[in-house]
Amino acid sequence: MPIEQAVQTLNLNDPAVFKEWQEFLESLGITNFQANELQQIDTTLGIYNERGNLIATGSVAGNVLKYVGVCNKFSTQGSHFNSIVSALMNLLAQRGVFHLFVFTKVKYATSFQHVGFHELARTDLGVILETGDTDVSDYVHRVAQVAADRQLPPTGKVGAIVMNANPFTQGHRYLVEQAARENDLVYVFVVNDDVSLFTTAERLALVKAGTQDLANVVVVSGDQYMVSYVTFPAYFLPTQDDAIRYQTTLDARLFRDQIAAALHITTRYLGSEPFSRTTGIYNQVLQTELPPAVSVKVIDRQTSGDTVITATQVRRAIAADQLATVRDWVPATTYQFMQQNLKMLQARIQEGMNINGN
């Protein structure tokens, strides 16, 4: 039996190391080395054999395992895989990260299940799995508890809306109102990633403030299960159509099988999307994937005069220092927040926060 080599850190900034790493992964059929994927990598580990060839590698990006590749030619089935995943998990544990995800090809899903991962959703192209000290069932339990605390009926007509609300506008409000009229209970899931002009805490607070009068509306964080950097990076990063389609399919199936099923959600509400290509594809995919389990209702965007209300326009007004021009487009609570924090928001834009994306 060959001598077991220790797991070591790979410095991908070294061109020679990077080249060997990329060639090794390519030989295993991993071919996406686009800059926006590579930039997210925090740490890469590897195992070399006694001849100095790379035989196993894996990387972490935040709490997501990426680029896991193992050559099993000269080892007991799975032993290098287990070493790499184990080393990555211990590395994340040292950083205080205990809840992690992986996207992987269908053929590797079983290997991850053997080391304790649970499947969240799958397509023909890939599977998303999670492991750790909390999971999706803890999440839906917490969400259901919020509704229960408000004495809202957990079953019957239950609607759901997922929104970034960056910031919460009259357009969002209109969508929520429609859903609130047509359902016994409405969950509003606010996207959880802090990569927008308004922080997650601010967006969540503004949605809550702007819907406080609607008795059957429950506003919660979408955590890492809805349109998050984990499930749907294309929402935040420029991405090709086929990748968007793949990610949105996983996001839609995760929502359908893990979230909607557990929370008895019957209808998902969407705003029609005339502008964003990514959101446009997402809406199409949701309409294909969710029914018949969950029906999908597309609500036309609310207009103010001839203009369609969008959060993008509101953000542009902040940047241009013309807050008054969008006064009618946002609820009073959002307007007040923007007025009081205008300097801070403008400073964020000056520091390079992109306001034209999602």
């Binding site: 287990n82 998990m89 205990f98 053997h114 080391v115 750790g132 000290d133």
Partner: protein
């Protein structure tokens, strides 16, 4: 002993067990993944539970991924995970061994 934070001990290597211990409101729950669960599942869970009780842990959520660990390994990994989770690694509870 009170579980204050999530902690991990052990590896996924052959003959080892990876244990993750986190807070729970009450009781001990064990989510065990093992290729030999059918035969040794009860035994593995019993070793973990006994060790936890010996350390005075009454509420904990345990996620265990077993790769064929012997009882002494399971016990050692449980002790290490608890001490990390209870932040008592500076004052190890030797008597439990």
């Amino acid at each position: 002993m009170e579980i204050k934070k999530t902690a991990i001990a052990g590896t996924l290597e052959s003959s080892d067990i990876q244990l993750m211990i986190s807070q729970a409101d009450s009781g001990i729950t064990i989510d065990l993944q093992s290729d030999v669960k059918k035969v040794f599942g009860d035994q593995i869970e019993a070793v973990i539970t006994t060790t936890l009780k010996a350390m005075g842990v009454t509420a904990a959520k345990v996620k265990a991924v077993d790769k064929g660990a012997l009882d002494c390994v399971i016990k050692a990994r449980t002790i290490a995970a608890v001490q990390r989770a209870a932040e008592t690694t500076d004052t190890p509870a030797w008597e439990v061994l």
